[in-house]
Amino acid sequence: MKKILKKNLQNLFAAISKETDLFLPVLNSAKNAEFKKWTEGTEYSEELNTVRSAKDFFFPQTENICDFKTSGKNIEIIENSELPENFAVFGVRACDLKSFEVLDNVFLSEPVDSFYKTRRENAVIFTMACNRPKETCFCHTFNINAADPKGDVECFEDETYVYLNPLTQKGKDLLNKVTSALEDETEEPVKKIKAEIEERLKNLPLYNLSAESFGSDKTEEFFNRKEWDELSEACLGCGTCTFVCPTCQCYDIKDFNTGHGVKRFRCWDSCMYSDFTKMSAGQPRTHQKERFRQRFMHKLVYYPTNNNGMFSCVGCGRCLKKCPISMNIVKVIKKLGGTANG
């Protein structure tokens, strides 16, 4: 276990930046947190959720697949991806870290997505335990412990110090390179922090939310429930929930004609959009209800069916804050699944 005085954090960031690009949550001009590259003077923000989740690092909103040049009847394929060298991310919360696991199951299953894989391999993740979980946090529902955030290096903070505990070889290697900025410490202070966080988690309003009634092979049980009508009634069909969600992974592949070539890129797409499944032969999901149902069934039933019961929600609470009409997965779980406390 290592530690550093909070007021000296900038020294640590500077030392890491010498080794590799470093990204961390920073408050922007709208007072939202977003991950930004550290440069001299960049202040770390303790904000729990960045608006865009940390999935951006591995699955960016748009990314080039390849370019084409055409001449007459001929086509030339040009490799043109912008994959990053090694980089480190500081301040990833336990929920976002779990979301990487959710995405891994999709992108690293055969056939492997090599863009995603390269980014994953090149990253060192510093997590941060959540000292002040918010009312919208429900990571506990999905067995994520905000007091035990894991990652390559797990970090904890109290009033004066940040404690760093390397867990993987990647994490150890990087910390070894910056030891001069760090002091040694025993496990004790972190134990105390963990205990305090765990106590706080228990007092969160959504602590007892349970998704147990959902899971693998429950399609029949939930698909035709009449509550979907009511739940989806006010849905605007925008993509806010999917774009702020750390586990939403649907994408589209599109071509952009630059006037002197074609760029083929993939970009986030949303199952909430009316044209998501539209094809020349027809549209299997004709109403917003079906699109809405798809999103939640995917997170709570389909994904677990294909991934040994693992849910595709990490309880980060972003959709609770960002949905324009405040419809969210907690309301869906409560309405359809029932919970311990209502």
């Binding site: 706080r200 609770l320 324009p324």
Partner: protein, 329 residues
């Protein structure tokens, strides 16, 4: 703090349901917390009693829902705040729903609170928010109670409320008022006074945050196209590639232009933007320009008004004289 109470609305809704005037009530449902309210349709007194909510966060504009809901069985009851009533008229002007199927009750509005601003005040979870006169009582998870002045935590659009007048209704639940304020162009004027470089930097900073979730478009009561140009593969601009400065500019310029002259300045776009981009500043620039070039015009003030962009006079200002006029005034 709203003068109109939840109970008043529930009583009115129950009365209209019971006497058969309406079969459905468009209202707001309680959520997990005081701020996560969801628009919903109620069909019985029991539902209303149990789940209807109306508090200082009930800011959603109901009018757009009528496009979808006014087609149902029987009349639907809608409560119109002044903002909603302008959108209501504008949608009627564009023949987007059948007026006959709607029963509108006008309610006065004292402004709504901006949850984001309250949240910013604390690096903390918020357990509950109570509205109490001019005060908001916030109970946080870790730092106890705190009192805030409601006036400081209003939505931008409410702070710069354009009017308290309800422009459309079948019945008024409260008094109508003619009170109008003229502060809403101040921000636009500030921008106009900047140099082009400063303005460019300002907008780049704001628009670069856009994640193209389309929430602004999908909530907008003026955006009711069956198929948006940005969803149409034949338009050539369907690209969903954001993180490109041109696409960000184009999306927001074109969207603002499409609603220019029809935008009632209800402020929903800015309210729902997950990245808090001040989109109303684009719409208000158009409104301000229209007012100054072609005479005062408020979209939705009356049903059937001809929008300025489908109108002309022979003496209209020339583009070269119009551009940049704001900054010279």
């Amino acid at each position: 703090m709203q003068t109109v109470t939840r109970n008043q609305l529930v009583e009115k809704a129950k009365e209209l349901l019971n006497n058969g005037t309406v079969t459905r009530v468009l209202g707001i449902k309680k959520g997990e917390f005081s701020y996560d309210l969801t628009p919903a349709v109620f069909t019985s007194a029991e539902e209303l009693e149990k789940e209807f909510e109306f508090n200082g966060f009930a800011a959603a504009n109901f009018s757009k829902y009528l496009v979808k809901l006014a087609d149902g069985e029987g009349k639907i009851l809608v409560f119109l705040k002044p903002c909603d009533s302008y959108s209501f008229n504008q949608l009627l002007t564009e023949h987007r729903f059948n007026r006959e199927n709607v029963y509108a009750v006008g309610i006065e509005c004292d402004g709504f609170a901006d949850y984001k601003k309250i949240e910013e005040e604390f690096n903390d979870g918020i357990k509950s928010v109570e509205f109490n006169g001019e005060k908001i009582e916030v109970t946080t998870l870790y730092d106890g109670k705190k009192e805030l002045a409601f006036a400081d935590y209003m939505l931008e659009r409410c702070k710069n409320c354009k009017t308290k007048k309800i422009a459309a209704f079948d019945e008024l639940l409260t008094e109508n008022s003619d009170e109008t304020k003229n502060t809403r162009f101040e921000e636009v004027e500030k921008l106009e006074a900047m140099t082009p470089d400063e303005r460019y930097a300002f907008w780049r900073n704001e628009l670069s945050r856009c994640i193209r979730c389309n929430a602004c478009r999908d909530v907008c009561p003026a955006c009711t196209c069956e198929k948006c140009v940005f969803n149409n593969p034949d338009s050539g601009v369907e690209n969903k590639a954001i993180q490109n400065s041109f696409e960000e500019n184009m999306f927001h310029i074109i969207r603002a232009f499409h609603v220019a002259g029809r935008c009632t300045d209800c402020g929903e776009c800015s309210r729902v933007c997950p990245q808090h981009i001040p989109l109303h500043l684009l719409n208000r620039k158009f409104i301000k320009d229209i007012n100054s070039f072609y005479g005062e015009y408020q979209a939705g003030a009356e049903v059937g008004n001809r929008a300025p962009l489908v109108n002309y006079t022979k003496e209209d200002i020339e583009p070269k004289d119009a551009v940049g006029r704001g900054s010279e005034e």
